[in-house]
């Protein structure tokens, strides 16, 4: 109830949160890429890796403020990621069909370890799409929150 008489103020950075995000988020990002690539061999995969990569970006957004992050990472980057990931998946799958195989039949590419590289590229495409979708969903929800706070007649 006491939030009514407080002035709506801009986000104030906390040194502790910013330092932790600065230390942790590169590791989280790398781990997400590792999970994506590891999907070819064992547990892991594009969806999980993409979610982890997106969470590292969301941690940065929470620590440094959502508006600065939005200025740093433009919406067009995420549109590019989403479309590019889906396009990579489709092109690799259809390329195998063009060479006379079935959809996503990596063996027809005739590269050494072609199956493994094919799976890794497809996982990378899935991961890019998932990360882009999650971050842009987060950014859109956060934009709604900011507008409400500016409107300011909460009870």
């Amino acid at each position: 109830m006491s939030s009514v008489d407080r002035p709506v103020r801009a986000y104030v950075e906390s040194t502790i949160i910013m330092t932790t995000a600065r230390i942790v988020s590169p590791f989280v990002f790398t781990f997400g890429l590792f999970v994506m690539f590891h999907g070819a061999e064992s547990a892991g995969g594009g969806f999980q890796g993409g979610a982890i990569v997106a969470s590292s970006i969301i941690v940065v957004a929470f620590a440094f403020g959502i508006e600065p992050t939005r200025q740093w990472l433009d919406d067009s980057i995420f549109r590019l990621l989403i479309a590019g990931g889906a396009a990579a998946f489709a092109l690799i799958g259809l390329g195998a069909m063009a060479l006379g195989g079935a959809f996503l039949e990596y063996a027809v590419y005739n590269i050494s370890h072609g199956v493994k590289y094919g799976i890794e590229l497809v996982e990378l495409g899935i991961g890019a799409t998932v990360a882009g979708v999650i971050v842009s969903l987060f950014m859109n929800l956060a934009a709604g929150l900011t507008n409400d706070a500016d409107g300011g007649d909460e009870t």
Binding site: S3, T20, V24
Partner: protein, 105 residues
């Protein structure tokens, strides 16, 4: 039992004790700030001690190094998360619990 096993069991038991303290704290304490106070410290300590026991058991292998990394990240992120939650609550204007709240009811 070897001395190593005694050390591992001891670490896990002490870790369990601190995790139990955190659970009691989150059930029994009255508001967000006191609960964050109880869980952030004892839960971190409980997790770190238990993972330390696991790392001792693995020894100097890849799994042991992974466990130590996990332990370090828990040690960094857990208190930070509690700090962020308490800070956000303060920003939202949530008043800390006082003795007078209880007497008023």
């Amino acid at each position: 039992m070897t001395p190593l096993e005694y050390a591992v069991v001891g670490l896990v038991l002490v870790g369990l004790f601190f995790s139990f303290v955190a659970v009691v704290g989150i059930i029994r304490l009255p508001d967000l700030y006191t609960r964050a106070h109880a869980t952030s410290k004892s839960d971190t300590l409980g997790t770190v001690l238990s993972l330390g026991g696991v790392a001792l058991l693995f020894g100097a292998e890849v799994s042991g190094v992974k466990t130590v990394l996990l332990l370090l990240f828990m040690l960094i992120t857990n208190p930070t998360a509690a700090h962020a939650i308490a800070r956000a609550a303060h920003d939202q204007g949530i008043e800390p619990w006082t003795k007078s709240d209880e007497e008023g009811e």
